[in-house]
Symmetry: C2
Subunit: 239 residues, 2 copies
DNA sequence: GAGTGGTCTAGACCACGCA
DNA sequence: GCGTGGTCTAGACCACTCT
């Protein structure tokens, strides 16, 4: 019926379609998604194919499935591996538009950084390495160092990275999706160099968060080393 | 053929069997799991059923699937929602046997704690609330406050909680499995009361980690509020 | 009882890796 | 070319919720 140009699996097409609709608020939170049977008819698919798409959405927290009832729409979940910023003592996230990102070190090619806690399986491969500061109201919230294998993201150095979510960019430009990851976290005090970089007083408590992020590509891991000043805002994430 | 006593789905039985084998090291890390076809024949199942079990294992990081090759066994992953402890500057986890857990406040019934950052959807339900300290080498590593809905875990107050992983206990005793969750994290300084509780100096930097943990049971969320002293050890988790 | 999601079968064909 | 995992169909029956 419909012309299929690229080789996209049916379940993935349905998943992407529903995901877009859920992001755009087409379905009200707490309401029921169309039933599996309705989706089968609407997209001309069989039950297992529809179920796979819905299972992916449930896995990511977009919907919750209830036997005998249907799939209930949940609030849009935080992206896996992404961090949201939230003031202490309220439960309102800082809007993405209020966050400013400044690229301190533009992407350069180098071997895997030696000061990361997680180690790459192939440290000699070329990696893109860059550093960024993120601000809310012109205050530095965090400083982050990032490395990702260059062969997997051609032309990465030409992308505009300011004021964008890295993971949204990777998703749209390269179809890279975060699957899973590990993190190491601890608290420490800002030393002289860090306090200059982050425009905070020395000996302020800072949060340290190092991550190794696995994606849907077998040999593509993203590495992040983060320093966060959390006196006004805390970090929120999903696992 | 084989007598099925309880109503356990085939895919789940296969999943549990393989998971046990993977935990016990039956398959060498980096080696291939038996192929889908072999598992079909061995357990007398069809391909989609076997695939579901393997997908669950892949989702949790026990194996990685490669088209045209097979499923490669990975190192045993950290349990979702669990935290491992690791010294700075080495990559060796502290063995679970070296960690001592002391229950400071035995499980009591109360309404949902007001000082947690995450809020329950049904705060008036009865919750089990308890507090624990965890030690490595007789040093306090963290202090944790935990709340979980009492109706979902009958007889919980009778369980021995010392020196056990809470999630292993919930899995074995109630078949409760962590599916997903959210965390809020920040760094702060220990105040007077906390420094006494954790036997550290006042104004030591401490890590704060609050979590809301969703499980395989629709209305069972576990809430945790954690204070960690991370000067010697850091915390490692999965997402 | 009607409608929902949950489990399962018995096939088919495709895409990929490796020798 | 063979064996692997990836996608998909067309059914079947079960378990649960709601009315």
């Amino acid at each position: 019926m419909s012309e299929v140009i690229a080789r996209i699996p049916h379940y993935q097409h349905l998943y992407e379609t529903l995901r877009q609709q859920l992001l755009q608020g087409v379905y009200e939170i707490g309401s029921l998604l169309p039933s599996e049977k309705e989706l089968q008819q609407a997209y001309n698919l069989t039950q297992p194919t529809v179920r796979q798409a819905l299972s992916m959405l449930a896995e990511e927290g977009f919907i919750k499935k209830f036997q005998g009832k249907g799939s209930i729409v949940q609030p849009v979940p935080i992206g896996l591996g992404m961090l949201s910023i939230q003031p202490h003592h309220t439960d309102q996230l800082v809007d993405a538009a209020a966050i400013r990102t400044e690229i301190v070190q533009k992407p350069i090619l180098k071997v895997f950084p030696a000061d990361f806690l997680f180690v790459s399986a192939q440290p000699q491969r070329p990696y893109y390495y860059f550093e960024r500061l993120r601000f809310v109201n012109n205050e530095v919230i965090f400083f982050e160092k990032i490395a990702l294998p260059a062969e997997e993201v051609p032309q990465f150095h030409k992308l505009k990275l300011e004021n964008k979510s890295l993971f949204d960019t990777l998703r749209k430009r390269y179809s890279i999706i975060v699957k899973r990851g590990e993190e190491k976290v601890w608290a420490t005090l800002a030393d002289e160099a860090l306090s200059r970089m982050m425009q905070i007083k020395p000996n302020t408590p800072v949060l340290r968060l190092e991550k190794c992020i696995e994606t849907n590509r077998p040999h593509l891991n993203i590495y992040s080393s983060l320093y966060a000043c959390t006196d006004k805002y805390l970090l929120k994430g999903r696992f």
